[in-house]
């Protein structure tokens, strides 16, 4: 049978598991091989993931499973993502959806965020977590590469109310060489579809001299959907098969980001310590509406929130936000 979770559309059999190795054919249905198995969970700030415009300040239970449908040269989590999931089962955590949600509650979390690997490879488990989370009043978000089929992308949008989609590159050459996918068409289609129903932020890791010439086209694409889609331009952290390569120049990339950034209301340049490009400025008057610290992939932090009610503190103009500002220990009392 053909798997319809992602656009690879792998052939599945009882003992053939597709590119991500997370599904099998069970009686004509694509079935998860490792339901309710988690590689890790941890407590994190929503800004770390990063979400800058969803539930600012919220404490999140960050979770992940195993496997991925991409093979990015610079994968940051290759020790979980690039190995056969079957070989990880002795160290995976076995937590049923209700228990995972209960764990989020005990830790005083406002949200559960799937952020280690690709959610499309564990969609049935995540759907059951979402059912439990909804009953508990816990919201759910995720990072995704956006390479799902239309059917699974619709389901992704039903499970998660806020998503950060990675738009890594546009050219076919880049997609083949750096991601091992044929083209970015499905990703562009899914960004548009998800932005119509959910809160969407977009992240682009920049590799100097490789995909930085596409920044203007990416900004134009996003602006064509909505100017207020927050765009996170990442300085690439060379990992995995790019570990020996140079770090991109912050001066060079920041100049390019500033040149194209006028197309969008909220453009950030970070993923390195001390970035100066992580505050939210009011699109109308330029006042600082939300202040943050950048700690690189170790996690960004909310410093001060000035945008009460989604309004600029200076001119009262609209600051696009999904959800309210959440005090960090707000849920401790009920944990």
């Amino acid at each position: 049978m053909e798997c319809d979770y992602c656009e690879r559309r792998c052939r599945l059999g009882p003992e053939s598991f597709g590119y991500c190795k997370m599904y099998r054919d069970e009686g004509g249905r694509a079935t998860e091989r490792f339901p309710d198995k988690w590689c890790a969970y941890g407590i994190s700030r929503v800004e770390t993931i990063p979400f800058y415009h969803a539930w600012p300040g919220a404490r999140c239970l960050v979770v992940g499973t195993a496997g991925c449908n991409f093979n990015c040269r610079y994968c940051s989590n290759s020790e979980v993502v690039k190995v056969d999931p079957a070989g990880l089962m002795d160290v995976m955590l076995d937590i049923a959806p209700a228990s995972l949600v209960d764990k989020a509650r005990k830790h005083g979390c406002h949200a559960i965020v799937f952020a280690v690997n690709e959610p499309t490879v564990s969609l049935p488990t995540l759907a059951r977590v979402a059912d439990e989370a909804r009953r508990a009043g816990i919201v759910m978000g995720c990072l995704t590469n956006g390479y799902g089929t239309p059917k699974s992308t619709k389901q992704l949008g039903e499970i998660f109310s806020f998503l950060n989609i990675s738009l890594k590159g546009l050219s076919r050459e880049f997609c083949v060489d750096y991601l091992s996918i044929p083209d970015a068409g499905p990703i562009l289609r899914n960004i548009e579809a998800l932005a119509a129903t959910c809160h969407v932020e977009v992240t682009t890791p920049v590799i100097e001299g490789v995909n930085d010439h596409e920044l203007d086209d990416m900004a134009a694409f996003l602006a064509g959907i909505r100017r207020d889609i927050p765009w996170h331009v990442f300085r690439l952290l060379p990992e995995y098969r790019m570990r020996e390569e140079d770090y991109p120049s912050i001066e060079v990339v920041s100049a390019k980001v500033e040149a194209v950034g006028k197309r969008l209301d909220y453009v950030y340049f970070h993923n390195f310590i001390g970035s100066r490009w992580v505050n939210t400025l009011c699109p109308s008057c330029g006042a600082v509406a939300i202040e943050r610290h950048s700690l690189g992939c170790g996690g960004d932090k909310l410093d001060t929130f000035h945008a009460a009610g989604g309004s600029c503190p200076l001119c009262g103009g609209r600051i696009a936000l999904h959800g309210d500002h959440v005090a960090w220990n707000a849920k401790e009392a009920t944990a």
Binding site: G42, V91, S99, K103, H107, L295, G296, C297, D303
Partner: protein
């Protein structure tokens, strides 16, 4: 204001350490420190050149600041062994390299260099899964042997006490009694602490598979040039004695190495108190640096994320929301430096005038951070 210089490779930003906000880079040491950072990009926690980076960077500071005391950490062999299945000869080579780098520092700086091993590593044999407690179990990526237990049910406590891989469950009340704490000292202690048996670890939140974990050792080796130090708390006063006698002294922490692999003549010192044995980490660094057991503040079971809210002070200091007092760098009146590949511990746990650390979090290499606690000594 205490300045921190963040170096993300070919790009630096100076901030106020306490607020984390950009600050004017002024003071007599700022240009020199920025240049040292620029000359020594960090190769990575597990990179073969990581320990050489410590020596090279520290020697650069010695040339330009002439300190009387240096606090160094060599940690590459610890990180590599913790997460990688190393053949014995590779492990041996890494340990040899750490000591060779400490020796190179001693030779080229001319400082009396005291070596301290932080204890043996053993294979990570059995994981302890506490996911189905009625209460909450908290363990961290970097602490294998201790878990904080919150709101346990009677069933939880019975289960923990019968668990074959847990040696002890200690109540908050008992910890306070054993370590001389008063009623105000328990706010960062969990309701109970569970202690894992040798070779066992609490299944934590790490993405990476643990290969070797701290024993943790009853005793740790200290090179004989320090003189007798019966317990870990005695290292600090002995170092201060050497410094007061006019010696230029370096302390080199060699992580993940116990008596069995220590190549220099050594004496042993107790690595804890009662049931507590230190793993390489914040509590062990602080015990060495302050001469006190820091269990009330740093115990492996505290829910550190409670402190991590908006406007948290010291945002570039990890989970620390205040800098510990009584650290050795503050007690020494002469010039001091700290350099190490043990990230934030170098500035938080040493208090030296100028500290330089890798800004690596969970082994991701973000660059470097230097903290300038004292610039006034540069002109004295």
């Amino acid at each position: 204001m205490t300045l921190a210089i963040l170096d993300a490779r070919q790009w630096q930003q100076t901030v106020d350490l306490r607020s984390g906000r950009p600050a004017d880079a002024n003071g007599p040491l700022v240009p020199m420190v920025g240049e040292v950072l620029g000359r020594h990009p960090f190769p990575g926690d597990r990179d073969d050149a990581s320990n050489a980076w410590v020596t090279d960077t520290a020697l650069d500071f010695v040339r330009h600041y002439d300190p009387g005391f240096a606090f160094l950490s060599y940690s590459q062999q610890y990180y590599s062994s913790r997460y990688g299945a190393l053949p014995p000869e590779v492990r041996r080579a890494y340990v040899d390299n750490a000591f060779a780098e400490a020796a190179r520092f001693a030779r080229e700086s001319g400082m009396t260099t005291v070596l301290v091993g932080t204890g043996e590593l053993v294979p990570a044999a059995d994981a302890i899964d506490l996911e189905d407690l009625d209460g909450l179990a908290v363990s961290s990526n970097w602490c294998a042997h201790y878990a904080g237990i919150y709101n346990p049910s009677r069933r939880d406590l019975e289960r923990l006490s019968r668990h074959p891989h847990i040696t002890r469950v200690v109540s908050k009340k008992d910890i306070l009694e054993q370590f001389g704490g008063g009623p105000d000292d328990g706010s960062r202690l969990p309701d109970h602490m569970a202690v894992a048996a040798r070779g066992c670890y609490f299944k934590g939140t790490s993405l990476r598979r643990l290969v070797m974990i701290p024993e943790p050792s009853d005793v740790i080796p200290v090179s004989q040039n320090l003189g007798p130090a019966p317990t870990i708390l005695d290292i600090r006063p002995r170092l201060l004695d050497l410094l007061a006698a006019g010696n230029r002294v370096a302390l080199a922490i060699i992580e993940g190495v116990g008596c069995s692999e220590f190549p220099a003549p050594y004496t042993t010192c107790e690595n804890g108190k009662d049931w507590l044995r230190y793993e390489p980490g914040d509590a062990q660094f602080l015990a060495i640096s302050t001469g006190r057991h820091p269990i009330f503040q740093h115990n492996g079971g505290y829910r550190y994320y409670l402190d991590d809210g908006e406007r948290k002070p010291y945002p570039f200091s990890g989970y620390f929301k205040e800098l510990p007092d009584g650290v050795i760098g503050k007690a020494y009146p002469g010039r001091s430096i700290a350099v190490g590949n043990r990230s934030m511990f170098m500035h938080v746990c040493t208090g030296c005038d100028v500290t330089c650390e890798c800004f690596a979090r969970n082994l991701y290499n973000q660059g470097l951070m230097a903290v300038l606690f004292r610039q006034d000594k540069a002109v004295s």
